[in-house]
């Protein structure tokens, strides 16, 4: 799928499948094409060429079918700040074709479900940032969506509020919903089942967070045993390559989390301590896009990896 704005090619050929029921993250720097791809899938824009289907429906010809089955939390607020949360949800219900009575019931249910009952009747603008985001989420849930789109949904929230927000999202995903989200908080993307890294209008990588990190050269396993020499010999015999010349045992592995249980089970010497270091997604992105590591590249990629800095705009 390609999307052009005039001469600017925002998406240069995207080929992507998101599985039903998974949490899927779209990760990339500003201007990479995240919002454009998001807007196309959310029926707000049309692809210039190529096509996309959401829940089996074409995003250009079956928009209403998709709209009925999806919920969106935008980066920007999409609630009426002067109206109460209850009024907002009630109105949204009307927009989804509920009768006034059904819309009112749905609003009440959602407010209870998301723990917003106390704040429900105050004008939305008087709520805290975290509550307002919850209200946005409630709004997105009015239609009981099969797929939930989140576009930088936690931008500007403090750590606690973000944790709570993601807790709720995980619960929704566990209930069988597909969640498609963009973020540039790298650690938020970790909750995804799979991540697509997007850069300059192209998907540069698509995999599970763990496998993505493995591309950097895997993770690091550090072992402390009662007899390191014997452990080293055993590891070498098993085809592992412990880093030579160190006091401790250090092992580079493509997928350390998968191999550690086996090592612990089968190592013939007693293990006193084991540590696993994983490379961060930021490392992965920097490696894949060929931009230097943090410090070398003061661009948006390096900055956005850290919360707090990326949030201020």
């Amino acid at each position: 799928m390609v999307k052009r704005y005039g001469k600017v090619e925002a998406l240069k050929g995207i080929d992507l499948t998101v599985n039903s029921g998974e949490m899927f993250a779209l990760l990339g720097p500003n201007g990479a094409g995240k919002t454009t791809l998001f807007s196309i899938l959310a029926t707000l824009r049309m692809p210039t060429s190529g096509s996309a289907h959401v829940l089996g429906f074409d995003v250009t010809t079956a928009r209403d079918e998709i709209r009925r089955a999806m919920g969106i939390v935008f980066q920007e607020p999409a609630i009426e700040q002067r109206l109460s949360g209850r009024d907002n949800l009630h109105l949204m219900g009307l927009f989804y074709g509920l009768s006034p009575a059904a819309a009112r019931r749905r609003a009440g249910d959602l407010l209870t479900e998301l723990g917003l009952t106390e704040a429900a009747d105050r004008p939305a603008r008087t709520l805290s940032g975290g509550q307002r985001r919850k209200l946005e989420l409630a709004r997105a849930l009015v239609t009981d969506p099969k797929i939930l789109f989140l576009d930088e949904a936690t931008l500007g929230l403090d750590v606690d509020a973000r944790r709570m927000f993601w807790g709720q999202i995980r619960a929704l995903a566990a209930a069988g919903r597909t969640v498609f989200f963009t973020t540039h908080y790298m650690e938020e993307a970790e909750v995804a089942d799979r991540i697509a890294l997007i850069d300059s209008g192209r998907i540069v990588a698509l995999d599970t967070p763990r496998a993505l990190k493995a591309r950097v050269g895997g993770g690091v396993i550090r072992l402390k045993t009662v007899d390191d020499a014997q452990a080293r010999a055993w590891l070498t015999a098993r085809g592992h390559v412990p880093e030579p010349g160190l006091q401790e045992l250090m092992l580079l592995h493509a997928d350390p989390a998968a191999v550690v249980p086996e090592l612990l089970r089968e190592l013939p010497v007693k293990v006193q301590r084991v540590e696993v270091h994983e490379p961060s997604l930021e490392d992965v992105f920097l490696k894949l896009t060929g931009r230097g590591l943090a410090g070398e590249a003061p661009g948006p990629v390096a900055r956005n990896g850290r919360p707090g800095e990326g949030g201020a705009r």
């Binding site: 704005y5 005039g6 807007s39 959310a42 029926t43 707000l44 824009r45 049309m46 209403d64 709209r67 009925r68 999806m70 969106i72 935008f74 920007e76 607020p77 999409a78 609630i79 009426e80 002067r82 109206l83 009024d87 907002n88 109105l91 949204m92 009307l94 927009f95 989804y96 074709g97 009768s99 709004r139 997105a140 239609t143 705009r313």
Partner: protein, 260 residues
């Protein structure tokens, strides 16, 4: 479809209610026109201050309805960026329902503003009776729908809040000045009379003036016919814009501006 229209109207009227103080502020402009401009210009016109005030009451009413309806339409521009409307655009509401709902709610808001102004007709020297009021209300209803449809059709094309008021002023003021709201078209130069034939505001104001004074510049049937056709065309245009959605190239470009 009907539920969609209902939802848009309920949303807008709820907000209008929050802003109800604006109705009083909205009285200021027409009253200035009526009693300050009207008395000043009237004193120096052939009509005399009293007659002139009676004459321009329909004009100030036209201005009020035009301004209120246009202002209501501006909410589309705001909303699409950082408001409830963004969520509405991803809901399965039929796009024509959004356009029609916006037109109706704009008309309703203008009507409320107009109703508040109407009693001042008596102060302007226009005695009201039941028949006149009924005729006037009918004319106002027509005018509000016309102005609101025009406002929505124009507003729906813009995403930039800063550009729209400029365009709207460039559109609203000429339409108002050419309409004969502030002067009798019958006494105006020929070319202005011709121009007025192209101005929907002229027909709408003439209908209202006729209801109050009993004298029409255009035949009422002609006015109603022209306005009906105009509303159909403009509503069609508004529906088309909403159908096209956010994917206008102009909208696409400005999408990146509101991140600031």
């Amino acid at each position: 479809m009907m539920r969609g229209i209902y939802a848009v109207v309920v949303l807008d009227l709820k907000r209008f209610w929050l802003d109800r103080a604006r109705v009083l502020v909205g009285l200021l402009q027409p009253l200035l026109y009526l009693f300050v401009l009207g008395s000043g210009i009237g004193a120096s016109s052939q009509l005399g201050a009293g007659d002139y005030r009676r004459f321009i009451f329909a004009g100030s009413m036209g201005l009020t309805l035009l301004m209120t309806a246009t202002f209501a339409a501006i909410s589309i521009v705001f909303d699409r960026q950082i408001g409830f409307f963004k969520a509405v655009l991803v809901s399965p509401v039929p796009r024509p329902a959004i356009a029609l709902g916006k037109i109706l709610s704009g008309a309703a808001q203008a009507m409320v503003q107009g109703l508040v102004l109407l009693p001042f007709a008596v102060l302007a020297g226009l005695p009201l009776d039941v028949l006149k009021v009924i005729e006037m209300l009918g004319a106002m209803a027509v005018a509000t729908v016309v102005f609101s449809a025009l406002g929505v059709a124009v507003a729906a094309r813009f995403t930039s809040v800063t550009v729209f008021p400029i365009v709207s002023n460039a559109m609203v003021l000429p339409l108002f000045f050419m309409s004969g709201a502030m002067y009798p078209l019958a006494m105006a130069p020929r070319w202005m009379q011709y121009a007025a034939h192209l101005d929907p505001v002229a027909y709408a104001v003439d209908l209202m003036r006729g209801a109050l004074l009993g004298r029409f510049f255009f035949a009422p049937a002609l006015s109603l016919g022209v306005l009906a056709v105009f509303v159909l065309i403009v509503t069609g245009a508004a529906v088309r814009v909403f159908n096209r959605g956010e994917d206008d190239s102009a909208l696409g470009a400005s999408k990146f501006n509101w991140r600031r």
